[in-house]
Point group: C2
Chain length 311, copies 2
DNA sequence: GGTAATTACGCGAATCGTAATAATG
DNA sequence: CATTATTACGATTCGCGTAATTACC
């Protein structure tokens, strides 16, 4: 009869690309995934996969099926949400997000949720943005707070609802004693209202490695400001970045949400200019699920956490 | 995760009204039905059934779920149909219908289908109109040819697509020698163009028992013609009806699709007037499934059978 | 040789049926 | 007392995992 569980496997397969990765995402073995897809294909009487090299590729029939699957899942989510409206907020709510979102937004949001809805048990997982969408798709997470990248779905993807949760401005992090750090009516270029990025064109830059959203953000911002930064150090962890800045090896762009250890003699200097370098946190749910009470309260708590941010 | 099989059980339960009847329709035991509904309710976190006497009644939440279920199933049927378009007509096609539809329409239609599409194996089942819809709903039949009654769903029911396949006129069946049987320019009320029903107001009527579509049809037609028929005999089978007519015990309204044994000395006289008494055969499928190649060919074959009817 | 996908087969869990229980008309 | 629904428990089926096979890079 009607069995959407198998369609769900195909859906994740379309997201991940390989049977092995799909099995991983669904906590299954490649064998199970292969069998489910085969049974679905037999049931529908069409081929869904064709081998290409040692991988598989979805047929046009599979893609046609997926278009319908998106609509079906949306409808299903709406049904679930509508049924739950009015009843008490209970059950399980699973959040996932990138590290800075977990630390700065989810932690306080979850604290609030646990206080306001003791019957709701909330789970949090830190994952990369791309993986967050896979978790949503696989039904293993309900709300994701991510940063849009080339690997994340477009805003109008039929599988998700995405909206901007927070715009996180980037500060210029300099060592204590740096000209920019002398705020107020001081001499150099420093200013309480911030410095222009172009004023820092001559600095040495410390960055997180490539394929990191802040790396791309720096390049884009500097490009808009009319220069290419001289990148001298690549470091993975923010506390290591700020340590290097403290020692005067260079400056960096630091998201305001990211805290710096108190013992590091560094100064945050706001960046002004147009466009100001910001990274936008997106709040994402499976399309249609947003009106579910538990999810709605989760999103509300995240918004409240944004509202209670300092500054 | 997503499991529409349980929703399907609820759907049939809504159609049949009791757990026992649902189990019957799905070829299950009441135990299985009860358990599936319970699991579904637990999964959704809402009550779906409440006991009323020794039966059950669907809650408002259950009805809300069913509204979505109708849309989900339509979408699913559309997906299945779209995927099958273009590929060869194969698989299984299950027809059901009332007896006269089976005899006069389905038999020739199936013959044609078996000739044109040898890969398609076609099954036929004779069922009452109400049961035909249950078969469609339960996924145990694909096309139904029925007569609309008080117990069948309204035309705009979201679960089905219904359209008029054939209008079956009713003839007046009289014994040989009856005044109406003297066609041409004869004496009484007889006429090649038929007689008015009101001309037969004084006759004795033989009918199939109450709760039969032809019984209701007769009463409605006579009411429109301005009289109430004097019903003298109730008989179940048409051949027995015509036998009584042949013996001169009375007349009857006989659907043109129903054949009479050749040895019975009776005459069919067309009925004219406005509105002419006709019964309308409906061709019904699950909503959204109509564009599936096998179903489309089935419907086409039925239409062809209608076109090849005598007269 | 390492990786990806698909089989073949044995095991475990989900689901169904039987039987007993409760409640209604 | 017959009918309807639910629960408990044993049985069957379906689906997953392990392992072997094939194909590809």
């Amino acid at each position: 009869m009607i069995d959407l569980r198998r369609v769900q496997v195909l859906r994740v397969l379309a997201d991940r690309g390989t049977v092995t990765a799909t099995a991983e995402a669904l906590h299954l073995t490649p064998s199970a995934v292969s069998q489910q897809i085969r049974l679905l294909a037999d049931d529908l009487g069409v081929e869904l996969l064709e081998r290409t090299g040692r991988n598989v590729r979805l047929t046009v029939a599979a893609h046609a099926l997926l278009r319908h699957a998106d609509a079906l899942h949306e409808q299903w989510e709406r049904a679930r949400a509508e049924l739950a409206v009015g009843s008490r907020v209970t059950g399980t709510l699973r959040l996932c997000g990138v590290s800075s979102a977990v630390a700065a937004l989810m932690a306080p949001a979850v604290a609030r949720l646990r206080r306001d809805f003791p019957e709701l048990d909330v789970h949090v997982a830190e994952e990369e943005s791309e993986d967050c969408f896979t978790l949503l798709l696989a039904g293993q997470a309900d709300i994701a707070v991510v940063l849009p990248t080339a690997g994340t779905p477009p805003v109008d993807d039929a599988r998700f609802d995405q909206h901007v949760l927070h715009e996180d401005p980037q500060d210029l992090l300099v060592w204590r004693g740096h000209p920019f750090a002398e705020g107020g009516g001081g001499g150099g270029g420093g200013d309480v209202d911030g410095v222009r990025l172009s004023d820092a064109a001559a600095e040495n830059w410390i960055v997180k490695p490539r394929h990191n959203d802040t790396y791309d953000l720096l390049l884009a911002a500097c490009s808009a400001a009319g220069f290419t930064p001289r990148v001298t150090h690549h470091v993975k962890e923010w506390f290591a970045v700020s340590a290097l800045v403290a020692e005067g090896f260079g400056v960096c762009l630091l998201p305001r949400l990211v805290p710096v250890p108190g013992e590091h003699p560094v100064v945050r200097v706001p960046v002004r200019g147009n466009p100001r370098p910001v990274r936008k946190f997106l709040c994402c749910v499976r399309r249609g699920s947003g009106s579910h009470p538990a999810l709605a309260e989760g999103v509300r708590a995240l918004r409240a956490a944004v509202g209670r941010l300092p500054g």
